[in-house]
């Protein structure tokens, strides 16, 4: 089992040791700095740090999901397009384990970016609004009645479940179609179209709509309580869970069956 860690180390090496990592990190940190800078110059540092953190999360977090989806889409598809899949699969490891190591490493990459994003948000806004600004009102804790950190972690937990789901879809598509473009395009579609319009769909009164995957991808609507528009967090998680199992089974089945002729 210790050997399986080596597979994950390999996948992480291939994930992280590339120039794109720095491009992605640069974009994220850059956006946070620009956003917070503009905000700071507009309201002269009146806002509370936590408010800025949460608002910027709502506006910018989707980029993390996109980056995570890109990474997970390329992890399988690139092995096929470069032909290295042949080198990878002729080792004493079952295809299932190799795929699992890739999946775990995709999730780790997503987690790394979510943490990096949150950390840069906290740091930049702490400097701007706490050290330099004069915002003293802690509005979030007033409104929500929970401590800021707890609220933030709950919010990010719900966000990350959605990211995991998108990463899983992207991973599945790139395994099934061996094309990272298709997987990335789908992830973009989910993030941009679905998350903006599906909320509207949720108001349409057909029973089947409650079982559509996309309605449940944004779980942050439950952050204030356990119910939203007649659905509960538990229900959403159950629907996501069913889709998740379905996607995983399909991904693994196809990867194990496939003749590698790349």
């Amino acid at each position: 089992m210790a050997d399986f860690m080596n597979l994950i180390r390999n996948e992480n090496m291939k994930m992280f040791r590339r120039p794109r990592l720095f491009v992605m990190l640069g974009i994220i940190v850059g956006l946070v700095i620009v956003f917070s800078g503009v905000w700071f110059s507009v309201d002269k540092g009146e806002s509370a740090m936590w408010e800025v953190v949460i608002t910027e999360t709502m506006f910018l977090y989707w980029i993390i999901t996109i980056f995570a989806a890109i990474a997970s889409a390329s992890t399988v598809a690139e092995e096929f397009s470069s032909g290295t899949i042949k080198m990878l699969l002729i080792r004493p490891w079952s295809r299932s384990k190799i795929l699992l190591s890739k999946y775990i490493s995709s999730l780790l990459f997503a987690l790394f970016f979510a943490v990096a994003f949150l950390a840069s948000l906290m740091l930049v806004n702490w400097i701007l609004f706490d050290l330099l600004g004069n915002g003293t009102v802690d509005r979030l804790s007033d409104v929500m009645g929970v401590s800021n950190i707890e609220y933030l972690f709950k919010y990010y937990g719900l966000l990350f479940l959605g990211t995991m789901m998108t990463v899983t879809i992207s991973f599945m598509l790139s395994t099934v179609f061996r094309s990272s473009i298709l997987a990335i395009a789908t992830a973009l579609f989910i993030e941009i179209v679905v998350n903006n319009f599906m909320q509207l769909l949720a108001f349409v009164k057909y029973k089947w709509i409650d079982y559509v995957l996309f309605v449940h991808l944004d779980l942050t609507k439950y952050v204030g309580g356990n119910e939203y528009n007649g659905m509960t967090l538990g229900f959403s998680l159950a629907v996501l869970g069913v889709y998740y199992v379905l996607f995983m089974v399909l991904t693994w089945y196809i990867f194990n069956k496939r003749d590698v002729a790349a």
Binding site: K14, T84, K86
Partner: protein, 305 residues
Amino acid sequence: MGQPIVRLQDVTKKIGSRTIIDKLTLDVPSGEVFGFLGPNGAGKTTTIRMMVGLMSITSGDILIDGHSISNQFEKAIRHVGAIVENPEMYKYMTGYQNLIHFARMIPGITSHRVREVVSLVGLDARIHDKVRTYSLGMRQRLGVAQAILHNPKLLILDEPTNGLDPAGIRELRDYLRKMAQQEGVAVFVSSHLLSEMELMCDRVAIIQNGRLIDVRTVQSTDKAVIARTLFEVDRPEAALEALAASELTGTIEGAGNIAVEGDKLFAAQVNELLVRSGIKVFGIRAEIKSLEDQFLEMTGGEGIG
């Protein structure tokens, strides 16, 4: 020769209704360099893909060191090192990182072994450069390095001399022969470079359209079966008459030469006969049919079917 390391039993591959490989049966013992010859599209790479588990086998089985590649994949592949088609590597990593990557996937490979293999394939100077800067020959060397990292019992190389310069080809040939003879490795090499195979292999299988046409031992010069012998004589016509008197046939080849078909022993008998008949023999020259001639004869220069 040892016990068979790899055994193909009635291996058949069908894609849709097309039969790509038709009931291929082969044994390769340890310590042998085995050549796999065939024109383009004959099914060489498909066979190799099935041997390393990249493709499923429609019927039949492939055993490596006694383990079935389809049912006991992890055990069977454990002792296989391979390059399938081109030696594709992660271009954004260095050669060394690539080797570490593959070394991690098999227990017991030390960093000492990795360095040993690097100098064995002669890449010391460039191993810490990114693979994207490598020439085809250097990639081929890196490919060989990853294939031999874990001291495999079976080495499968698909067109290994592609992109190597003459010195590199010779080096690889010597190395493969050494691996086979000294370490008992079974080496399975596919190629369409016939003259190369002749120098490298102990036995050669020829396939065409997915079927095994022939397996033969590569003859060293003194054992060649099919040979023509040229005799340079003073009176060719008289020589033919002398042969005809003993119910043998020959042909006149150019000025002052006659040719007879037969092995070495037969040539000696012909010589004796000519000398006894008072014909002056100035020279005897054996013409060995090259593998290439035999190959083209057998496959009939047929197109891709």
